[in-house]
C-alpha cells in the first residue's frame, strides 16, 4: 500500500528547467492512499504536479531532486525518508518519459540484468530473472540487441522489462507513451495488461488517455498541485466528453474527435511536387522510394505512418539534409535541387534544443534573418507571444516556448516551407492546441507547413491534406477537406489500436 500524508513539495528556484518544474510542479497538501493491486491513472495538464507525484513515489524525492518537502510518503508502512533509494528500488520500479535517456547499458540483455546485478543477485539468479521477464513480457525478440537500433516503442518495452526484472510490487510510470506512435502504444498497452494481471500496483501519469481506458481502476485528476478529482473507472468514463475537455484532458475515445471543425484559412491554388525521392544508408537497402507525390502549396499537410515507415527520412530529404537523397521538389515550374532546398525549407525539430544556438531569444531570431532587422524581429516575436522573453536565454524557456522560438526563427527566415517533426509528442491538450494554432497562423500567412505526427487530434485541428507512408513508399494521399478524408484518417488511427 502507498500512502501520502499531507505532502507538500516545491522545487528550488533554480531547479531543473524542463518546463514542468520551474515554478510549476509543486505539490500542495496531497493526501491519498493507493491500494495494492490497483491501477491508478494520474491525469491533468502539464505542470499540474503529476511528474512530481511520481517522483515522490519512487523515492527520487527526497533522495535525488532537491526542494522543500513536508508531510510523508509511506511505502508498505515505511516512510520514504527513512528508506534509501537503494531500498526503495527493490519495492518500486520506474519507467520514464524519454526512451533515450533511461538506459544505462548499450545492449538490451545487460539492461534487463542491470537491476538484479545492482542488487547483487548471484549470476545464475540474474540470468533466470532476465529469462523470466523476457518470457512474461514477450521481450524475447529484443534480447541481445543494441539499444541504439531499437525504436522508441521497443525502448519503452525494455525499460518496463528492466524495471520488472527487479520484481517490484509497485510500478510508477511517468508519461511513458510520449514518444510512441499509435501502433507502439497498442503494443505497450498489452504489456501493461500483463503487469496488471500479475497483481502489481501500477501508477501511471499520462496525457494520452484512450489507451488506458479499460486498464485504469481509478483516476486521479490533478490541477495546480492538488488532487481535484478522484474517480473510479466507471465514474470517469461516464463524465461527459465536454467536461473532460474543460479539465484540459485529451479524449478518452478517438471517436470523440469526429466533431472537430475543418481548420479555416485559404488553400493555395498550386501544388508542391516531390519527384523521384529515394534514399538508402550506405550498403543498406532503400528506405525511401517515392516516384511522385503532390501536396498543396499553402496550408498544412500531415505525414502519417508507422514508426520506421520513412516519415522522418522523407522530411529530412525534403529539407535537403540528406546528401544521399536524389530527387527534386517543384512548385509552379520552379525546380529545387537538394542544396536549394536547404534554403527553401526550415525544420522545427522534435528536440528543439538542437536548433537553438544563441544567448537570447532576440538574437536567435536575428540569426535567421538575411539582414538583421531588430524591429522586424520583435514583430515576429510579438506574433508568437514571445516578446516578454526576448532577452531570456532560449534554453532557459519551457518546452512550448522553445518550440515557438524555433517557429519564430523559421518565420523570420522567410522560407515558404516549414517542416515540423513530431511537434506535439508529450503535450497536453492545451499545449497541443497552441501548436495547432501556431501552424494555422503560419499557413494563413501563405506558407506551407508539413507535419510529421502521430497525433490524430492535432492533424484534424490544423491539416488539410494527408500523406500516408508505409515501408518507405507512399501508401495513399488524400485531402481532409471532405468528411470522407477525415473518416479515413480516424479509421487509420483506430485500426492501429487493434
Amino acid at each position: 500500500m502507498i500512502a501520502c500524508r499531507d505532502v507538500s513539495f516545491s522545487y528550488p528556484a533554480s531547479g531543473p528547467v524542463d518546463g514542468e518544474c520551474l515554478t510549476e510542479g509543486a505539490l500542495k497538501h496531497i493526501t491519498c492512499t493507493i491500494e495494492d493491486g490497483s491501477f491508478v491513472l494520474l491525469c491533468g495538464a502539464s505542470g499540474c504536479g503529476k511528474t512530481t507525484l511520481t517522483r515522490l513515489l519512487n523515492g527520487l524525492i527526497p533522495h535525488y531532486h532537491e526542494g522543500t518537502f513536508t508531510g510523508s510518503v509511506y511505502l508498505g508502512g515505511k516512510d520514504t525518508r527513512d528508506l534509501s533509494l537503494f531500498e526503495i528500488s527493490q519495492m518500486v520500479g520506474s519507467v520514464f518519459q524519454n526512451p533515450r535517456s533511461q538506459f544505462f547499458n548499450v545492449d538490451t540483455t545487460s539492461e534487463l540484468a542491470f537491476g538484479p546485478e545492482n542488487h547483487g543477485l548471484p549470476e545464475k539468479a540474474v540470468r533466470e530473472r532476465v529469462r523470466l521477464v523476457a518470457e512474461q513480457l514477450r521481450l524475447e525478440s529484443l534480447l541481445d540487441r543494441s539499444i541504439f537500433s531499437l525504436s522508441g516503442g521497443e525502448k519503452q518495452k525494455i525499460a518496463c522489462g528492466s524495471a520488472a526484472a527487479i520484481d517490484p510490487d509497485i510500478y510508477v510510470l511517468d508519461e511513458p507513451s510520449s514518444n510512441l506512435d499509435a501502433y507502439a502504444i497498442a503494443d505497450f498497452r498489452k504489456l501493461l495488461m500483463r503487469l496488471k494481471a500479475q497483481g502489481k500496483t501500477i501508477v501511471i501519469s499520462e496525457h494520452r488517455l484512450y489507451y488506458l481506458r479499460d486498464l485504469a481502476d481509478r483516476v486521479l485528476y490533478m490541477k495546480d498541485g492538488e488532487i481535484r478529482g478522484d474517480y473510479t473507472a466507471a465514474e470517469f468514463q461516464s463524465l461527459p466528453a465536454e467536461r473532460r475537455e474543460q479539465m484540459g484532458l485529451r479524449p478518452l475515445d478517438l471517436n470523440d474527435l469526429k466533431g472537430i471543425a475543418l481548420p479555416h484559412g485559404r488553400t493555395g491554388d498550386s501544388e508542391w511536387k516531390i519527384r523521384q525521392f529515394s534514399f538508402a544508408y550506405k550498403h543498406q537497402p532503400e528506405t525511401l522510394h517515392i516516384d511522385e507525390v503532390e501536396f498543396p502549396f499553402c496550408g498544412a499537410t500531415a505525414i502519417i505512418g508507422h514508426n520506421g515507415a520513412g516519415k522522418s527520412t522523407l522530411s529530412r530529404c525534403l529539407c535537403g539534409l540528406e546528401k544521399r537523397c536524389g530527387g527534386t521538389v517543384q512548385e509552379q515550374g520552379r525546380i529545387y535541387s537538394r542544396k536549394e532546398r536547404l534554403k527553401l525549407c526550415y525544420m522545427v525539430m522534435q528536440d528543439v534544443n538542437h536548433q537553438l544556438f544563441t544567448e537570447s531569444v532576440l538574437d536567435e531570431i536575428c540569426l535567421s534573418m538575411r539582414t538583421e532587422d531588430r524591429a522586424k524581429a520583435e514583430a515576429v516575436l510579438a506574433e508568437m507571444d514571445l516578446l516578454p522573453y526576448r532577452e531570456r536565454h532560449p534554453m532557459g524557456l519551457s518546452g512550448g516556448q522553445k518550440q515557438r522560438v524555433a517557429v519564430a526563427s523559421a518565420i523570420a527566415s522567410e522560407r515558404p516551407l516549414i517542416v515540423f517533426d513530431e511537434p506535439t509528442s508529450g503535450l497536453d491538450l492545451f499545449h497541443m492546441r497552441q501548436v495547432a494554432e501556431v501552424v494555422n497562423r503560419i499557413t494563413e500567412q501563405g506558407r506551407t507547413a508539413v507535419v510529421v505526427t502521430h497525433d490524430p487530434e492535432f492533424i484534424l485541428r490544423c491539416c488539410k491534406f494527408v500523406i500516408h507512408m508505409e515501408h518507405g513508399k507512399i501508401q495513399e494521399s488524400y485531402s481532409l477537406c471532405e468528411p470522407e478524408g477525415r473518416e479515413r484518417l480516424l479509421r487509420f488511427f483506430l485500426n492501429e489500436m487493434g
Binding site: 533554480s14 531547479g15 535525488y64 544567448e359 531570456r392 536565454h393 534554453m395 532557459g396
Partner: protein, 193 residues
C-alpha cells in the same frame, strides 16, 4: 558524505565522454604530422568549455583523478600508448587537491586548475621523446654522426617541458573561454545547480 555517489560517478562518465569527443574532433588536425605538437595547444584550448561546466558539478574529491584515468584508458584503446594513464592520474590528482583547496567554488582558481589538468596531454608525446635516445643510437651506424645530430635538432631535449608549458598556458586560455561561455550560456540556461 564525502564518498562519491552514483550521481557523481555518472557525471564523471558523461563529462569525460563529452570532453573526449570535443578534443578528438579538434585534435584531428594532428593527423598531419607537422601539426602534432599543436595538439598540446588545441586540446586544452577547446577542452576548457566542457571542463569548466564539469568543474561546477564537482563537489567531492577524486572526480578529476578518475576522469584523468579514463582519458588515459581511451588513449590506450585508440592506440596512443599507455603514457596518458599515469599523466592523467597525476595531473588529475593535483587538480583534485587544488579543487579541494579552494572549497569547490572559486571560479578564478578553476581556470588555473584547468591549466594544470590540461597537462595530461603530455602523455601523448612521451613515446616520441623517450625513444629519442634509442632512436639516435639506431641512426648512428646507418647515417653517421652528423646526420643523426641534424635530425635530433628537430626533436630537442627541451621539447617536453616546452609542450608541457604550452599545454598549461593554453589550458589557462581555454579555461577563460570556458568560463566566459559558462556565464554567457550555462548559467542563464539554468543547467547549473
Amino acid at each position: 558524505m564525502n564518498r562519491l555517489q552514483g550521481k557523481d560517478l555518472i557525471n564523471i562518465g558523461i563529462f569525460t565522454a563529452i570532453y573526449f569527443i570535443v578534443i578528438f574532433a579538434a585534435a584531428s588536425i594532428g593527423f598531419i604530422p607537422i601539426f602534432i605538437p599543436l595538439i598540446s595547444v588545441i586540446v586544452p584550448l577547446v577542452g576548457g568549455i566542457p571542463m569548466m561546466l564539469f568543474f561546477s558539478k564537482i563537489k567531492k574529491f577524486g572526480m578529476l583523478t578518475i576522469c584523468g584515468l579514463l582519458l588515459g584508458v581511451i588513449m590506450l584503446l585508440t592506440g596512443m600508448g599507455y603514457w596518458c594513464i599515469p599523466t592523467g592520474l597525476i595531473f588529475g590528482l593535483i587538480s583534485d587537491f587544488m579543487m579541494k583547496g579552494c572549497g569547490y567554488k572559486n571560479a578564478k582558481r578553476e581556470v588555473l586548475i584547468h591549466g594544470v589538468f590540461s597537462m595530461w596531454v603530455i602523455g601523448a608525446f612521451i613515446p616520441i621523446v623517450v625513444t629519442r635516445d634509442a632512436y639516435y643510437q639506431n641512426l648512428l651506424p646507418g647515417y653517421g654522426q652528423e646526420y643523426a645530430d641534424t635530425l635530433m635538432a628537430y626533436m630537442p631535449d627541451w621539447i617536453l617541458p616546452v609542450l608541457l608549458a604550452a599545454a598549461f598556458v593554453s589550458g589557462l586560455v581555454g579555461g577563460l573561454i570556458g568560463r566566459k561561455l559558462f556565464k554567457k550560456h550555462f548559467e542563464r540556461a539554468g543547467i547549473v545547480s
